[in-house]
Amino acid sequence: MRKRLWLILAVGVIALAFGVVGMMDRLRFGLLHVGYGTPIPWALWVVFYIYFIGLSAGAFLISSLVYVFGFKQYEAIGRIAVFTALVSLITALLFIWVDLGHMERFTEVFTRPGFHSPLAWIVWLYTAYFFLLVAEAWFLMRRSFARGARQGGLKGGLYRILALGTQEGTPADEARDMRIVRVLGSIGVPLAIAFHGGTGTVFAVTIARAYWYSGLFPLLFLVSALASGGALLTAVAAFIIPNGYQRHRELVISLGRLLLILLLVEVLMEVAEFLVSLYGTAPAHTAPIQEQLFGPNWWIFWMLGLIGAVGLPMLVLVTAGRRSGLAVGLVALLSAICFIGIRWNIVLPGFALPELPGLEYALVEPHLNYLARYTPTIMEWQVSAFAIGIALILFAVGYHLLPLEKEPSTETWQRQEVSR
């Protein structure tokens, strides 16, 4: 395994070890030790959930550039994108699963769905998307599995199983596989738009929360998904692929340009949202924005959101990022991580005001305290670390074992065949 994958694996294992106590607490005491409550019913885990769902949708949509829209220059990260989308999806679902009051009942969304709820829609869409991702990943890699099965050892054995009897096949077979991938990708694009727009819709339909109740919200979700997923993939291309930012300099810089556009659209939408909300006098609209800008957690907006996720990356992308793959990779990594701040400010400001004025003073009890500021408890951080640890381990091990890096494309194969 490569050094960088070892590093990711090590960080993952440390996170898992840190988180395991919190996870045991979660399983034993339910949600007793969380810092949120009835006034703020959705908090850190929901933030992480939409963050990872966004990464998944974004990564997948970027992969579709290769497999559906034929942007060959991104081919080096095609499989990685599909794989990243899968790992992010699993992580997101893990986060939302631990957030349920009754984890054991999650199957009810399938057995007795309430289709008037956007939450039910998206769970069904996630499921369809999960199977689609697995199928697409398999069709992308099955010939590589078949070829790799020849090598001995653990990897060869694994590939033999994963190949599911696939033969190495001719270039024509590979071309057929790629057509299947293209069909799957084409189904996946509207699916990804639907499930991530749908995740935004979960928030956008709640008439009780003026901050979320806007047609802009699902679109904002999509744009920030693309931006965060794009940033993550750029960082992966630059740093996980060996010498990525040198070997695939063109690709990394091109991804940087794409990221710049996505960040610009993100800024545009945020500005629209902020201006319109702040212009009026209705506290339901102004308070959530003021809370973000000047509330106790102001730094999340300014430091993480504005500077880390958007400002600094944009600045670098229009300057050093035009030539240096390393610079692009670094700011993309920064942006991908700092996007968590933007996600935080999607969820938490929705609860800036009590539903009725004065409700905050009516009754103050544990988990029913509108006056207390929400800070995640250690247990919440531990459970988050546990889930992120799993994500990192899955990523490192999967990346090491699976044939994710660029192999000669079908056309190259065909060309080689012809020249032979």
């Binding site: 009051g101 969304v109 039910a120 009890e365």
Partner: protein, 243 residues
Amino acid sequence: MPVEVETKSMTIRMLEDLHRALQKPLEERRWGMVIDLRKCVGCNACTVACKAENNTPPGVAYHVVIEEEIGQYPNVARRFLPRPCMQCEHPPCVKVCPVNATYRRPDGIVVIDYDVCIGCRYCLTACPYGARSFDFGDFYTAGHTPEVAAYDTNPSFEYGRLHQRLPGRLNQSPIGNARKCTFCIHRLEKGMLPACITTCLGGARIFGDLNDPKSLAAQMAASPRVVRLKEELGTEPSVYYLL
């Protein structure tokens, strides 16, 4: 011609209305509440009665009285707004439930099936009145005193079933569920008024069948000085306030 004067106690009249309504099929009843804000003194007897009746744990509040201070010292006044569940005709909380665990009964009461609710708390975010709580598994005495007090583990009889919460069984419903005011269905079905109604000191609360024009509640709900909270959201609450 002599004018007929109503001399009956309000409570007796509401009980008669209730019993009359119970004779009708469920779907022909529409339970509603009228709260006369001029009569409310902000004593919170309703809140306490609700806690006692439903044995709600810390953090679970089906009913609260919101107090508002108006003006600046020394020219101040206080206003009180008792807030049960509005039992909306178009409840936003019901629509968002991904597993149909919460629904509106034919008689207008919005209920939660504790055995089905997965605890996603979407309904909490969707309720415009903050009328839903989540049961995080808190107890008034567990962890704070050497022994868990009996009142902490006394069962509640919501929905006509026995629900017992125990500190050692934090994965058992209603812990981990959304919870809300039910207009005390379990009492209604035994011919009793909701706890908050019987306990109101000032006689500020009126309960009855809004579909029965003879009921006190229906008559008061038709008053020109009636308002409902956040009417503009189209939720059509079944709780009316008399200004």
